[in-house]
Amino acid sequence: MTVVPNTLIGQELERTEDLRFLTGTGTFVDDYEPACTLHAAILRSSVAHGRIVGLNKNAALKIRGVHAVLDASDIGFDIPTIPLRLAPLNGFEKYLQPVIAHGKVRYVGEPVAIVLADSRALAEDALEVLDLTVQPLEAVPDWIAAERDTSVLFEQNRTNVAIRYKTHIGDVDAQFRAADYTRKEKFRSQRHTALPMETRGVVAEWDGVSGRLKVSGATKVNFFNRRALAKMLDLPESAIDLLELDVGGGFGVRGEFYPEDFLIPFAARKVDRPVKWIEDRREHLLAINHSREIDCELEIACRHDGTMLALRGKIYGDMGAYIRTNGGVVPAKAAQFLHGPYRLPAIEVEVAAYMTSKTPVGTYRAPGRVEANFFRERLIEMAARDLGIEPATFRRNNLITESELPYSIGQLVPYETETQYDNGDYVAGFERCLAEFGYEEKKVLAGKRVKGRYHGIAVVPFVESGGAGPRENARMTLDRDGVVTIGIGSSALGQGLETVFAQIAGDALSLPFDRFRILHGSTTLVEEGFGTYHSRAVVMGGSALLLAAKKLQQAIREAAGIEFGCDADAVSLVDGLALTPNRPSLSFGEIATKAGGTIVVEATFSNTKRTYSYGAHAAHVAVDDRTGHVEVLDYVAVEDVGRAINPAIVHGQALGALVQGLGGVFLDHLIYDENAQLLNASLADYLVPTASDFPNLRGVTLELRPSPSNPLGAKGAGEGGIVAVAATIANAIANALSSLGIEPKELPLTPPVLWRLVQETRQR
């Protein structure tokens, strides 16, 4: 494919959206409040697993200013369930989440009732006096308890095992028989979540006269969510508008269809008043999708020389109490991405998804990839050491070479077709990381104790998919003033899409950056949109913009041709002007005026091929064996994103992802007890990185190989930065503590965890 000419694309332009954020004039969902709004608070189960005996609403309804308390009985006989959006593994339909608990509660935080009052404070007062009686049942706190099936979350299904399947490529048994070396280990990645700084919120307005519903605060996949909501409320889709305001971070968790996305619109229609619900932080930690809780058994087969022959293993996914919209993405992708960027003749993975009485799971930035990378790369590090091969050399020798690309990784996911790594130079990306990091020079420190701390280094490659299909839509409207308004199905959750899309459109139409108004996400903008997930907004939405721009140019030529009295082909477009020989030029604005005020075009970009970004991370750590504290002294993340539309934005995404990843290694952890009670549902107890934790980070964006599957040449760029972090840090720690023989196998690696590992090793 031809690559578009490059003037705005590739420039580190300042972001257009920043002006409103820097002056406090953005509009986040809680900043929007229609007149006569009622405020909602949600009664959530404090019991992990139990039978609902009764709910006495009397005391709550007596509070002045409390208007209604709604529970399942108010919704009716058929309580809707939240549909699967992705990864629809066979059998999951029996474990979907009802929009409100009825009969049973299955996790702490499950919505049981909703209070509507004049203020949020009054609604919370009412929660205090709502008398909910739940008969507790045995909690199911983890997958091991789930597998026993002594306490079953869905009695009618008679098991907590939602799905079990085996997937493979090649002849794994034969490869293992032929191997000189094998090693098998167990690994674990801990439950945590994305924690966007803005909690969720919904404002619903029902217009009883026209039968229309307006829902503000929507994002990510608005068209899917509208379809789901329309079905649940028995309304035509066209009667519902989902509107996207400013959004305070997504990272996978925000914007999926949650119970509140039904409950608030339902309540607004029921009481015929606008209803607003803003999640508080405790609710957020109990209610938003959790992620990353995977156990893994993994075995590697190699030759003496370190050639990898096969991997086989088991992925145990803790799904929480219900299968939500993301279906089996987390465990299925953890299985698929065990393959990694390596030449691997055979792989076999058994996947099991367990229902436990905890908050349901969904996707968090690079779902499954982070976990898989950690499992595989820890095992490779051990294998390299066992075989006496320098670990970077071991990895480089097994990387898929450019001549082997495209490289099929088969059909490792049951709900997908065969997929191929597209293009790239994995070895070059790896070498660049080693060079930027100064691997050879730093190697002298490996395992050494300097001033009371052990030093360690590691390098880990990764591959990451992006750009999910099937299509995206864009509409361009040229107005009298020469401004082009772009409506697009992609959602903006803070990643700077308004800027990036103006750069793409500016180049495509040879217009300045400030001639565009970018509207995104809302269901009012295009007929159908597919949203923002799987690092797809630029790949799919950006490509749709290119197609729309071509159509707009043609439409302008035709309109100008009528004015000029010539063929459209005889009109050329230069710098916002339409030209033809021997006639005065017309500006785009003048042409729009003459064409009736506006010129509108729409375009669709369709593509089912994924993009695969790739790269490598390297880290240098110092471990204090007396405290278990780890300092990250240097960290380099290298990623080839094909084409960076705005390198400063890509760089920001990479560093942001990196720090989220470091949080996942050292801090983030949703801790449950044996009764499946979440123990740390506040930011005082649930820790994330702060400004003083990780000052020494470097990111390098490469544009070595543009994607062959879209006209921009772009690959997904928002998620790759997190994929290799856990593995890189854990391997650097193992390298530092190699003289003690410590091999971290479980995340997180908090000071107490590492301190205990050191103590246990010394006591042996």
Binding site: E17, G26, F28, E198, I649, T690, A691, P695
Partner: protein, 163 residues
């Protein structure tokens, strides 16, 4: 509902509001005065998104009652210094230049914290800035660009101090 009248100055203007005694300053600013630039991220004093400047000190407006603000001078994101012709002030301009924000939700709290710091300590070094901003959570940027932006804005505050 018993309300109480509170009087204080916000961004140089005297205001008077009738609020319940339990109303915190963040809610008073956002809901009663419609200054929605101050954001609420946790309501328990950890995330720093709601930081405003009260009598020169950066404080968490979710941990202060509106009644406690009686008589004080409050600066919110809306009242931070602007440049000539209503352009961005030096700190905000530096944030834009350094891509020191993504979703923008934590940004008001970070700007108010940094403004209070640089007003007092225009020579603060990177370690000091990191230490002070460690009370403001950001999930998007990884903080590096934020520190760079604050460092770069110091010169404007240094000139001011000399003047």
């Amino acid at each position: 509902m018993v309300t109480r009248t509170s009087r204080f100055n916000v961004n140089g203007k005297p205001v008077q509001i009738d609020v319940e005694p339990r109303t915190n300053l963040a809610d008073a600013l956002r809901h009663h005065l419609k200054l929605t630039g101050t954001h609420v991220g946790c309501e328990h004093g950890v995330c720093g998104a709601c930081t405003v400047i009260v009598d020169g000190a950066a404080i968490r407006s979710c941990l202060m009652l509106a009644a406690q603000a009686e008589g004080s001078n409050i600066i919110t994101i809306e009242g931070l210094p602007r440049g000539q012709g209503d352009t961005l002030g030096p700190l905000a301009a530096s944030f834009k230049k350094h891509h020191a924000l993504q979703c923008g939700f934590c940004t008001p709290g970070i700007l108010t914290t940094a403004h209070a710091l640089l007003t007092e300590e225009p020579d603060a070094d990177a370690d000091r800035i990191r230490d002070v901003l460690s009370g403001n959570l950001c999930r998007c940027t990884g903080y590096i660009s934020i520190i760079d932006a604050v460092l770069d804005a110091r010169s404007a505050y240094q000139k001011q101090k000399i003047a």
